[in-house]
Symmetry: C2
Subunit: 342 residues, 2 copies
């Protein structure tokens, strides 16, 4: 039964095809790419030759000539890789999955680049024509590296002055929707639990939060802590906060890892959700949904966001035009049990 390993025949090249079809390699190339007309009769001979020889073009050679790799890369910056962990990964993966199919529709393949220790060195190892950068932080190392290498890059995230291409997420709207939803039940004690790093997301949420608090005449309670402490940090911080200031009516906690901590703290304090306290977070991912009760969150339409980003990128690559900035579709509130009306 052991089939002898088929002779490792050298793969047919474009020259072989040309010879068999009785034309020059150049003509075969044109027939393949459609860059110039070739007579329909020779066209036919060529396709026949391709079939019989089972020819498949050598992409490295083509790439060398054209200077294109036929791939785009999706990055998540995330210097503190480990801390962010699965939750952030879900966000990225949702984008990646959609980007992959959009890219494929444009005859481009998607490279999934995990957070890496030495971006500078690694970038030289990977061939790609353009990049999608997900929620870069304040002054992200990737952004400068990619710019330095002259790689067209579309940023998914906050409006980023350094980026020529972007699909901008409206953190303002997100914060507003979540806050209003929590406040509309008449809540007056609504702490904001948030990361303290200088990401746009943190800053905007904080700003909107304080503004709306002021508008409603309720006193803001900002609990900022390092992202790295995530779940545990949020649990402890909210615990001591409750001890000091008494129980809240609601909690706005954009980062889902922290939301888990918040839920634990509330359970610990014997505060029923949503009975006593209503809770909402930002990203409607695995984490928000597997909480008990599941958390109200935002549908950010990440599939469409990824699709927009990918199309923008490949368009730019193809036309060579200069950048553009597209707004992401408006987020939608997904009301779950954690904010159910009593």
């Amino acid at each position: 039964m052991d089939q002898k390993a088929a002779t490792p025949r050298k793969r047919a090249t474009i020259k072989d095809v040309a010879r068999l079809a009785g034309v020059s390699p150049g003509t075969v190339s044109n027939a393949l790419s459609g860059k110039r007309r070739v007579d329909s009769e020779t066209q036919a001979r060529i396709t026949r030759a391709i079939e019989t020889l089972d020819y498949v073009p050598n992409l490295a050679a083509r790439g060398m000539r054209t200077g294109r790799a036929g791939t785009i890369a999706i990055f998540s910056s995330m210097p503190t890789a480990v801390a962010a962990g699965t939750s952030r990964l879900g966000f990225l993966m949702e984008l990646a999955a959609s980007a992959a199919v959009s890219a494929m529709e444009s005859n481009t393949a998607l490279l999934l680049i995990p957070p890496i220790a030495d971006p500078g060195a690694a970038l030289g190892t990977i061939a790609f024509d353009g990049a999608i950068l997900v929620e870069p932080s304040a002054n992200d190392p990737y952004l400068s590296l990619l710019a330095a290498r002259g790689v067209p890059t579309v940023v998914i995230g906050p409006a980023e002055p350094r980026a020529t291409l972007s699909v901008t997420l409206d953190y303002q709207a997100m914060a507003g929707m979540l806050f209003d939803h929590l406040a509309e039940g008449g809540a007056t004690r609504i702490p904001l639990v948030i990361g303290q790093s200088p990401r746009a997301s943190n800053e905007v949420f904080r700003a909107v939060y304080t503004a709306r608090c002021a508008a409603r005449g309720i006193v803001p309670q900002v609990i900022a802590l390092p992202e790295a402490e995530g779940e545990r940090g949020a649990r402890e911080a909210l615990g001591t906060h409750i001890a000091a200031h008494g129980p809240p009516d609601a909690v706005l906690v954009p980062i889902d890892a922290m939301a888990t901590g918040v839920m634990a703290a509330l359970r610990g304090a014997g505060l029923d959700v949503p009975g006593k306290v209503r809770v909402a977070t930002r990203y409607d991912g695995l984490r928000a949904r597997s909480e008990t009760p599941p958390l109200t969150a935002l549908d950010l339409h990440l599939d469409r966001v990824a699709d927009l980003a990918t199309r923008l990128l490949v368009d730019t690559l193809e036309t060579g035009t200069d950048g553009a900035s597209i707004a992401a579709p408006a987020p939608e509130l997904v009301v779950r049990l954690s904010t159910a009306r009593s």
Copy 2:
């Protein structure tokens, strides 16, 4: 402020480096790859030249010479792309995320290949050295295509005679663990809701199920339906089943989309989970966890599975040795509310 677009300087080539360092291109190549010794003093001159010229190797050219693309691709076969949808996607993405970091550790990038309409054509468009194929179906088109192209492929899934490389998932163990867990409460009416396509997963689950039913002297109730009907199909099928045969004690429903349908049917019939009926599914993903109540499932250790597969693949690529088959780590039961003891 508007910085004039930097002159689009042509990128430095290895020749430029050679010239500046006063050596031949060949020597630079050797210095870079370490394939041959080069004098430490010239080595130093070369690295200096590389830095001042900001040289970064042209990967297409290198790839053409070496015949290596520096990438591996991860595929999910899934001809019926849409039907499978998000749930299956989660499974794939979990693998992909881990594979991406493992690959990167081996200086390889991971291509995320979505299900595509015309695999045969598309494969010629993408450059990769090896492939990871996730749960290929009975006679998967990809498997033959990849084999025909001579691309080393590791299969994650059932033991697959056609594959020389694989990380095998133990469906037998999975089915056994889930069944025993459901049966151990003394349940005697335990329908199996399952897909009817000839995937190994379906077949093994069915076989184990009937065997264990026989062992316990309980009568098997197999409800097989097309995967494509997924959630809705399972809901309707279980509904009519209950009408005909009365309520079950437990339901074993490996495919998570169908599990959602099963939960709906049970709710419809007024059967409390886990009070009246206990339910378990296979993949512990978004879907299982966001069910109410969340479903007992299996932790398949997909991160380790992906890591094994990736390492196996790059090892094979590097050493050129022949295939091997590795067993995936044993699955672990994750007991959730859907099978809580009353």
